[in-house]
Subunit: 340 residues, 4 copies
């Protein structure tokens, strides 16, 4: 597979290059960057060994897959142009994830420049939409928080086991999720030995989570979603609270997960009592899940852990590439997480 990467100099771009270089059947032939056109990638990342295509602001050549790793808002037009020219795109921004263009105005505060592509975009969560992804020419790679939240919640809502209005998602992410943005908020000195909520009640991943969970529940639902910033580079943990429908037992919930994820290479249902840790997933494409029904309060507590740059971005994109190109889904993604 010949592939190109636009937005190659960001953290997501770098992670794509790391994974693609380790993929036995992928070859990176194009590196797009508007800000660093003409430079050698190793000037920007001197720790990257080996040879790489020169960074360029030019349009990509025909490739099997174009990965678009531009910031949300900057991706739509660029991806649309390549699609119009007949290419296949995996877009890692939010620009094709929401079906309703109005949601972009409400949550992202901009007007979508290519809404005509929204209907055909496939939401790239392979465990749920594998067949559609296989036939898609435009895949919207899910957000990092939604990936964790949906892998935990979607099967349970689809099976009607939870009260749709009861869902609270309290999540925490490593700082790489913010990209390489320069702000005092992301300086080592202000993140180290610190922990804080942000985007309380207003984070942009909220409508994405609600869209997918509403579809699963068969009714419009709203969730409370509070992200926090962790003093780690990588990792997302979502801790989830919900009320089961009357009569639903912990065994029912577990069985639902087991059926939904039977044979899924990347989903690890931990033994009862063992809770996910972000480090379990560090640098790997695996997701780790656990839940418990608290008889005292009647609430179920669930948790999901992923690496936000792998399963929450570049790894899931490579997984989607494998599906779109008819390769085994785990190809190039076999690496286990690092420990310690």
């Amino acid at each position: 597979m010949k592939v190109g990467v636009i937005g190659a100099t960001g953290y997501t771009g770098h992670e794509l290059l790391r994974l693609l270089r380790g993929h036995p059947e992928a070859e990176v032939v194009f590196l797009g960057s508007s800000g660093s056109a003409g430079r050698d990638l190793r000037e920007i990342y001197p720790g990257l060994p080996g040879e790489w295509p020169e960074l360029t602001a030019a349009e990509p050549p025909p490739v099997d897959i174009l990965f678009c790793a531009l910031p949300s808002g900057a991706a739509a037009e660029r991806a649309a142009r390549f699609l119009a020219a007949g290419g296949k795109v995996i877009d890692l921004s939010a620009d094709f994830r929401l079906r309703d263009p109005a949601d972009y105005e409400v949550w992202y505060k901009w007007r979508h420049p290519a809404p005509e592509f929204l209907p055909e975009a496939v939401y790239g969560l392979p465990e749920f939409y594998r067949a559609d992804i296989a036939g898609a020419r435009l895949v919207a790679n899910p957000g990092c928080y939604p990936t964790a939240a949906l892998l935990a919640l979607r099967p349970l809502l689809l099976a009607g086991l939870l009260e749709p209005a009861s869902i609270i998602i309290d999540a925490a992410s490593g700082v790489s999720g913010a990209g390489r943005a320069l702000s005092p908020d992301y300086l080592f000195t202000e993140i180290n030995e610190n922990f804080k909520p942000y985007g309380v009640t207003s984070h942009r991943h909220t409508p994405e989570i609600e869209q997918e969970l509403s579809a699963a529940a068969g009714q419009k639902l709203r969730v409370s979603f509070t992200p926090h910033l962790l003093p780690v580079t990588r990792g997302i943990l979502a801790t989830i609270y919900a009320r089961p429908r009357p009569g639903v037992s912990e065994a029912d919930l577990r069985q639902c997960w087991e059926q939904a994820y039977e044979g899924e290479h990347f989903v690890v249902l931990l033994p009862a009592g063992v809770w996910p840790q972000t480090k379990f997933a560090f640098a790997s494409n695996f997701v780790f899940l656990q839940l418990k029904l608290d008889e005292r309060t009647g609430r179920v507590v669930a948790a999901a852990a992923i690496d936000n740059l792998v399963r929450g971005a570049a790894g899931q994109a490579v997984q989607n590439m494998n599906v779109m190109c008819g390769r085994p889904e785990e190809k190039g993604l076999e690496q286990l997480g690092l420990w310690p």
Copy 2:
């Protein structure tokens, strides 16, 4: 004030010594330690400058206040002995926090050896129980998570603004909360770049929170409480979800906090939109609070940040000492948090 510290070699003991040495009117005259009797404190903590009393397993001499910084379960008998001899005790363990001895059997899995002291123990949260603390001879210094959760929630429940059954407390703590215990779980290699829930539905601080909130609400209530372990040394953040009673507005909630904490030196109500960060409280006795009513979901989200070793343990103990001994409450605790 002449004071003694039992359990001087643990982290809480060390923090007490740090604060007491900086207190202009306190003098540490006794250091109790069963495991390190006869040793010089600086063998254990070579970074501690200055002179210190020798560590001893002997009974403390008469002092104005005896701080008991032993682990939960080990404190009760020791403290009871000193009380019986006529002394005043601030106990930093959980051994005198719960009013119902049966709760120790359920949550702590041991039988209380001195239940006769439970009725007179005062729960040492000065903003709530100042007058009782002033007259107490036994103060049960609150747990770290309960301190954060109660400072956020108690006034709101006391004022009847929240649905008692709706409370979810999702909290995260630095590793110093676990003390100096030797377990692979607390090795740098397994905490660094990691984040995980623990004690899900079973953490021992749950009955303590419920006891105090039930008293405030005037009815028995249960909370969902999920602690997490942060890769930081110090700091607790509690993120709290609840449903306001019908008709309660965000302004009502804010006003309740403002009235409850008017003139309180250590409580900082942040301006709207500025959320607490654990680092705001780093190495200080302050607590930082914020809340928001989410009109979309009808839930209020609140957050509280403290330093678990200061406000969550040794600092609050010194604050209690000041109250018990008629000193200004902030004496020796004026230090601002470190930044960065």
Copy 3:
């Protein structure tokens, strides 16, 4: 003492404010800031409780001491103006540390705008120049690396115990030493889980160290100095290699330190075999020292640990203020370091 702080919004400024607020005899009456004039300090640092003077770009009023915490190059003119008006200044930049104006051109790449003040500036290392500081109206507060290196080396060179040409200083600093500068180099993501040398053979603290050591040795000497960036917020460790003069024993070296630092409150000579850790000094004004003569190689290895923001900047400035104003030197600086 009424004091003012220019450059109040940087990390050093913040640390000065933290220490001065805790000082029982100092009152901060002026906060200068060109970039944030007119703002409330708590907009910039919302974790700072209490009331503060408004930030202003105006000239400071008469005060007992003006602390100048501007970047090197920006301080000289500002400080000179205040001096010319009859005030006393403690300058925390490098602008008055070097006696030879030509050194600024070589190492700092700019021409000194007020060289006429260089002869009277006193190098503010109280253990060495206490008497001069007491009578000074302009004190050049030492650099962070030089403070650590000089406290270890100066007595040994003054006593003629080391070969002047043999000195190698391998040092590491926390990131707060870089201030609040916005660069990808200081993002959490690129510092966390990383360690690197920088400024190899060219760091600006080199001439400062050489100036003071040359004066001690009575001859012009040059040192190899390699700073590294640590993934910590605070702390400097200098590991030093040198050849003792023929016949010098480890006991001679230790005795030299003991005599030089007898009665010095802030200098801790650790017991043999216990090596300094940056955390010993965390948030305190103490310096921790150790050395060993390696009979196999004939080299002495020494180490010094400080907190770069306290003893390496704001704490030493307050220590100088105490000396200049006739107060006990440790006033307001009694706090022990944090552990853990």
Copy 4:
């Protein structure tokens, strides 16, 4: 290749399993562990997905390569037994690295139980001893610090460019180098926000470095070696000081490295002015090198960065396995380092 791992539950064992599982031509058929015999590996490391052989205290079956990841002192007898039975061993402890059995008594404080195997053990640094490794049945995998130091220094000494008596190695390592040992020294609380030297003048890697550098220099030499403990999980940086022989220029030194490492896949000579960072090597088998001749002091400063668990242990072991089994040396080790 069928391989076994003894000492599978330590960090080095885990890292071997991670790399071997990602190796397309290796199959792990045996997991030895005396302390955890009979257990499932995933009880110990619940983040490890997939199936693994049961842990056993039994003797390994015949395999192509047996990796011995036991602590130094525990490996010799075990490895010797397998060798005696006709197997091939890569030993990751220090037990076969030193040629002179007396060195074990001096530096390790124990008597070597199988000195008869020392003469045939090949020091497993492939860039230097590739041919010998290819024919060996016992490879002594180098220590982590020696790997970094030797890759920087050996070619320069072999070429006679440095004064043999002038070498100082100041190095820092992540905490994983200490293994999973339970000691307060390795608790998160005591490592986080800390940095310290240890084993000053007495670290066990000293004789290993001296043995290899003496061989290169053609004369017995001694080095000053000071290790430090970094608050990171992985990574070693060695900063090295030496005096070049008279007349040697920086260009000579660079040219020496270029010739020594021409065509070497895993050695990255960074462009002038770009210094190694441990993070460049994070989770990869690459080593990054840089040097500079300081005309002011006449000393050369060099630096080398590796991942201590990959290039400093398990990765180099897999590299050796590839050489011993006639596979391309980079097989299974192609992964680039993580960034960020």
